[in-house]
Amino acid sequence: MTLDPVGLEVMGHAFASIAEEMGLVLIHSALSPNIRERRDCSAALFDPDGEMIAQAAHIPVHLGALAESVAAVRALAPRPGDVFILNDPYTGGSHLPDLTVIGAIELDGRVGGYSAVRAHHSDVGGAQAGSMPAGAREIFAEGIILPPVRWTPEVERLLLANVRTPEARRGDLAAQRAAVERGGEGLRALVARYGGEGVRTAARDLIEYAERRTRAALAKVAATGLRATDWLEGDGVDDVDLPITVRVDIRDGVFHADFTGTAPAARGNVNCPLAVTRAAVLFVVRTLLPEDVPTNGGVQRALRVAAPEGCLVHARYPSAVAAGNVETSQRIADTVLLALANGGIPVPAQGQGTMNNVTFGGGAWTYYETIGGGQGASREANGPSGVHVGMSNTRNTPVEVLELECPLRVRAYALRRGSGGVGKWVGGEGVIREFEALAPMELSVLAERRRHAARGVAGGASGAPGRTLLNGAALPPKVGARLEPGDVLRIETPGGGGWGPNPFRARIEQ
């Protein structure tokens, strides 16, 4: 180690500040609500060897995932100042709506690092508006595929010719480019202040520091042979349960997750490329670390993820993957958490483990929302109620905004009392959201945990599974329907699992 305790902290803030600035430039100047308000985006700074120095991940599904994108770009012999774009899940991407822009930062005539920015675009073409077609069986239906390519005006024209909303895409891409450029400026300013060698050494030391902190934290929870299986409830084509199985070993401060035994890739779009699986495991590891451990490549050094090629969580071209990012990533994180809990490691019980994606659409409008639910209880606390858990953390749409803009009425919006699993500490409550259609419209619901409840830990009870009810009749987890005026859709989201055996303790109301 060459950085002293002061240098570690000062340079840690300096690098983190560059990544934060990139993310904020993107969020502040992007056009579409999906980036501006839902913050489905991330930004990161990499060293010339492709190791991540700092990341601003605004939602967990982006955690650490940009390293694969930079690796894919480095294979193309980048020149200083080159800017690349990609979305191919099988070459550095996650799912097609995530467009990733990467700049090779020029320092003294050489590539001195990379700045990378990923944002979820609500349209990359494909079979349906929104570019998340429910029935897709191949990636070709999900939109235009961009392998890593240099981002030239020609490539941009080609991309924009394949989407339904080129103006909005152009605006969001400009914001991404500005963010990538800001990352380069930030690194060059740091070099001007501390010198090229100083900055390079500092980056290396910081990565080692994060690795050291990660290994130290993992060493405290060493365990081997932790296993769990959980289920994905249908793939959007067939309504059958698909097992996700994991074995976790935490040895010598390294977290190993092996998904052998997981179902083969599905016919529908719930498959994940390995990069997304890794992000979900990294999320779990991150919850085990003290908050001040920097998010950089050092954390990933203490992580090994294996899965048989061609399975649900290591999909092979050309499997469809759009919903893998949304729902399967949640179940992967949940399964790993369950394995840890089964092994006595102090992690919270499972949470609702779904985003409850609801889409309504008429001729000229579509409306999409996700609904929070119960978080699992932990060893010292009840689970928070009515929140997003796991890989997402987006805000709700106010009732007044929804009713002003769409032919829908919200009849109830409430906590779902009694849905949290009981225990010494009680799981968080799910949510009830009831909509009445005021005009004919199409409905699509993509949800999980309608059959397999969030499980409790250490003797705590499971949370209540979710329910989707149309005029009082239960619907399957993933469903489409046509609504007429007066139809009532009621979503009851899952409660979180309880912690510890104490069925007599009533939930403490605040």
Binding site: G12, H28, A178, Q375, G386
Partner: protein, 673 residues
């Protein structure tokens, strides 16, 4: 004479502005049990020539006029009630089926990775929520409110014996009839109990934020009005011409108006500082500023752009959303009392834990033994152990050195080296937060000047400016009491608003004029004789944020042009041809506070040379720094870093590589060489 009094956690600061431009400063210890005691002690010290042992006279001269025409007060009474959860027992009356809205919040979790962490609970107990069978929608009543239901609700509320009541229904921002009926019935049935209605407090869409804000108003109102009532007698006894209370938006209110707007006092104290920063910026001709107020436990960052404090309506205090227009103030957990420690991975950290006012930094000699930022500054020779802070509080260098050395061999052997590390980490922590605050709003710090204030801020000005690539620092004449100066100069200001959702292209001149008319009338009534400023909140249809645009004309066409220009300046683009809509209309009534920085009189500012030289550690090197009296330098004086400017209210450090010149206003402009 106008007087501003800022009651802070540790000190109560007073600044008096004489009609002749003279300025007088007093600083006393805050009396937490009854803040008015300290406040009026400071007032009574005005005009006394010598500093008594329990106060500090900062500026020389003194004012020649002795009648207080106006006293403007910045208070933490509302802030503390929220932080300490000491407000009223509130009953919330809301639409049936939506009683959980305060618990559902906006459904985001409290922490991305700490899965056990929850949000602070709402200000209302869940069994103190009464659901009402009624429902308004976008076009009016969907379910009528029956008279029997009103009676039932009044009975249910009375049975809960509340100290305050909030009535907050869905769509009341547009259709307040149901809220009005229930509020009127409750006011009739529960005399003496404050009843707030969401359409009165914040007639704007987005139910969670509106209901939360209306609840805060009810929660604070009894406590705030009792406090304001306690001020009446001492003000009368001293023949003070008028009393006004600072609001979060940077304007001040008469006590009667403030008592009905308790929630608008949530950031009363810090808002004064931002008003002061804007004034100092205007006096030296700098209109875009990043201001940082560094005190004992935290630092508050804010932005001044085009000579106006940046105002937002999306804030939260103590984790409770409060959607009233408020000067942007973002708190960073780094202050003089922030504690330094070494983590398990071997990095030196500063904060977020603070030694607070008690025991305070080790050098206060009040029993603290953990090293703080203030201790480090003393070890480095930046602070002078010989000058008292206030109330005979003297700094003990031996205690500081012992505390700093306790960090031990991990950081270094030599106390100066350890102390230099502590201030470097504190500066890095603050610089990152300052960058976040500005970049998140579309400002590049490199284009702004830094204005550091508060007791400790001016020590860090150069380090922060260097870390952020800023080339200009504006050092106010009395940085330690800038908030009180801002209060003394603050304008009287009332804002009224109304919801007005309309597509801009379809709007006619006549419609816009008609929509503004009742607001203009109300603003005139509330503040007769004031200048009126009209504005409209506009957005691209469907976006989740608005931009407030001045709307002086009835013709809506210029609004679109102004909106696009402002949007481009703030966000870098003009949308993708999306339609523009109006969301809210606002009218502000403003009576100027004579808001320019007074010139200090000549006698007070005649110092032209350094008073002494002192050995200090700056940037890791031992240097001989010149020591100057802060706030007493004559206009035109030039100084070079390393220099220390020592005043009774604050100390400033000019690092090597920076050069300063005293402006005729008394402020010092520092430039990077």
């Amino acid at each position: 004479m106008r007087v501003g009094v800022d009651v802070g956690g540790t000190f109560t600061d007073l600044v008096a502005l004489g009609a002749d431009g003279t300025l007088e400063v007093r600083k006393v210890t805050t009396t937490p049990d009854d803040p008015t005691v300290g406040m009026f002690r400071a007032v009574d010290l005005l005009g006394t020539r010598e500093a008594r042992k329990d106060s500090l006279t900062v500026a020389g001269g003194g004012t020649r006029d002795s009648v207080i025409d106006l006293l403007v007060h910045g208070t933490t009474i509302a802030t503390n009630a929220l932080l300490e959860r000491r407000g009223a027992r509130v009953v919330l009356v809301t639409t049936l089926g939506f009683e959980d809205l305060l618990w559902l919040r906006r459904q985001e979790r409290a922490s991305l990775y700490d899965l056990a962490r929850d949000h602070p609970p709402p200000l209302v107990a869940r069994d103190h929520v009464v659901g009402v069978a009624e429902r308004m929608g976008p076009g009016g009543a969907l379910e009528p409110l029956a008279e029997r239901e009103v009676e039932r609700v009044v009975g249910a509320v009375r049975a809960l014996a509340p100290e305050a009541v909030t009535v907050a229904f869905l769509f009341a921002f547009r259709h307040p009839e149901h809220e009005r009926r229930v509020a009127a019935a409750l006011r009739g049935a529960l005399p003496g109990i404050p009843v707030t209605a969401s359409h009165e407090v914040l007639p704007a869409f987005r139910e969670y934020e509106r209901i939360s804000t209306a609840t805060v108003e009810a929660y604070l109102r009894p406590r705030v009005s009792a406090y304001l009532a306690r001020l009446e007698a001492p003000v009368r006894e001293r023949r003070i011409g008028g009393l006004r209370i600072m609001t979060s938006s940077g304007g001040s209110l008469a006590p009667a108006a403030a008592a009905r707007r308790a929630a608008s006092l949530a950031l009363s104290g810090p808002a004064g500082g931002v008003v002061g920063a804007r004034l100092v910026g205007a006096a030296v001709g700098v209109s875009d500023l990043l201001a940082i107020d560094m005190g004992g436990t935290s630092a508050d960052a804010s932005l001044v752009t085009a000579a106006e404090a940046l105002t937002e309506g999306t804030g939260a205090v103590a984790g409770i959303p409060l959607a009233l227009p408020s000067i942007l103030i973002e708190t960073v957990s780094a202050g003089g009392g922030s504690v330094a420690w070494v983590d398990e991975g071997g990095a030196l950290k500063v904060g977020p834990e603070s030694a607070g006012a008690v025991p305070g930094p080790a050098c206060y000699g009040r029993g603290g033994d953990r090293p703080t930022v203030t201790d480090a500054c003393l070890v480095l020779g930046w602070l002078d152990a010989a000058s008292p802070l206030a109330d005979e509080l003297r700094l003990d260098p031996a205690l500081a050195e012992r505390a700093v050395a306790s960090l031990g061999s991990a950081v270094g052997r030599e106390p100066h080296a350890i102390a230099a590390g502590i201030v470097a980490v504190a500066a890095a922590t603050m610089a990152r937060a300052l960058k976040r605050v500005s970049v998140a709003r579309g400002f590049d710090p490199r284009q702004l000047a830094l204005l550091p204030y508060g007791g400790a801020g001016p020590l860090f000005g150069c380090a922060l400016a260097d870390a952020l690539g800023m080339r200009t620092i504006v050092l106010p004449p009395h940085p330690g009491v800038l908030s009180a100066l801002g209060l003394a100069a603050a304008a009287e200001r009332i804002e009224v608003m109304a919801s007005f959702h309309r597509a801009l292209p379809a709007l006619t001149t006549r419609e816009l004029a008609a929509a503004f008319a009742p607001l203009v009338e109300r603003a005139r009534e509330e503040l007769p004789g004031a200048a009126l400023a009209r504005a409209a909140d506009c957005r691209f249809a469907g976006q989740g944020y608005e931009v407030t645009i001045p709307a002086p004309l009835d013709d809506p066409a210029p609004l679109a042009v102004a909106f696009l220009a402002t949007h481009r300046a703030r966000y870098g683009h003009e949308g993708g041809g999306q339609p523009i809509e109006l969301v809210n209309l606002r009218v502000a009534a403003v009576k100027s506070g004579g808001g320019s920085l007074p010139q200090l009189d000549g006698r007070a500012r005649e110092q032209r040379a350094p008073r002494a030289r002192r050995t200090a550690t700056v940037g890791g090197a031992r240097v001989e720094a010149s020591v100057w009296p802060l706030g007493e330098l004559a206009a035109g004086v030039e100084l070079e870093g390393p220099a220390i400017l020592a005043g009774g209210d604050a100390t400033a450090l000019v690092e090597p590589g920076w050069r300063g010149r005293v402006h005729r206003s008394g402020a010092i402009l520092l430039e990077r060489r």
